[in-house]
């Protein structure tokens, strides 16, 4: 089963978390990215996420495989939404289980950092003014 997925519709966390359970795992760290009502001082009304899906899936999978190698963890998974999202919607979820909490936290944070910097997904913000803007942050 793949560790990384793109979801074009809202998704549930509970079944994703279930997949991380293991008798040898004593710790589970997870991260959720939510659509926030502001960014860089501008009032945001909603987001649109677009992906280059084939490459996003293969690059996301590569990140999770790297995490399994780099950290002493049991299991790791990530799902990223695309499409139109409203304030409060779940944009991305990362979950990591491990024997101990240190590697679980470290891997979870590393994965979200890598996903944000490497996976071809782009955010278009819609502002209170009606304007929209694609975000192409400096690396």
């Amino acid at each position: 089963m793949k560790r990384f997925a793109i979801a074009t519709e809202p998704f549930d966390i509970a079944p994703l978390r279930e997949r991380l359970l293991a008798d040898a795992a004593g710790a589970c760290a997870s991260f959720e990215g939510w659509v926030r009502d502001h960014n860089d001082g501008r009032a945001v009304q909603g987001l649109f996420y677009e992906s280059y899906r084939a490459l996003a899936e293969s690059e996301g999978e590569r990140i999770l495989e790297e995490a399994m190698q780099r950290f002493e963890i049991t299991s790791a998974a990530c799902v990223h939404r695309t499409g139109e999202l409203a304030i409060g919607d779940l944009a991305v979820w990362v979950g990591v289980s491990a024997g101990h909490r240190g590697p679980a936290f470290d891997a979870c944070r590393w994965i979200i950092d890598e996903v944000k910097s490497r996976v071809p997904i782009w955010k278009r913000e819609r502002y209170a003014t009606g304007a929209t803007d694609w975000l192409h942050p400096e690396p």
Partner: protein, 78 residues
């Protein structure tokens, strides 16, 4: 003898289309330079990555008939 070029995010908005079919270019760099003039892309090539046939590729990767090229502007997922 053609290649398919895919556009995403701000590049797609500027190009006004998701993709287009173009003659095989001399190089990826030459192709982007042409497209940048034609579509008015704001981003210089140094800010982009490039993918060929669904995998990241170096800018000096060979361009062959039938390949699919995507210019990847700085990403903003998460």
């Amino acid at each position: 003898m053609s290649v398919t070029v895919l556009y995403f995010a701000s590049l797609r908005d500027a190009a006004g289309c998701d993709s287009e079919s173009l003659p095989v270019p001399a190089s990826l760099g030459a192709l982007y330079a042409d497209l940048r003039v034609r579509h008015g892309f704001a981003l210089p090539a140094e800010k982009l990555r490039v993918a060929v046939d669904g995998a990241f590729a170096p800018w000096d990767a060979p361009v062959v008939d039938g390949c699919e090229i995507a210019f990847i502007p700085p990403v903003s997922g998460g």
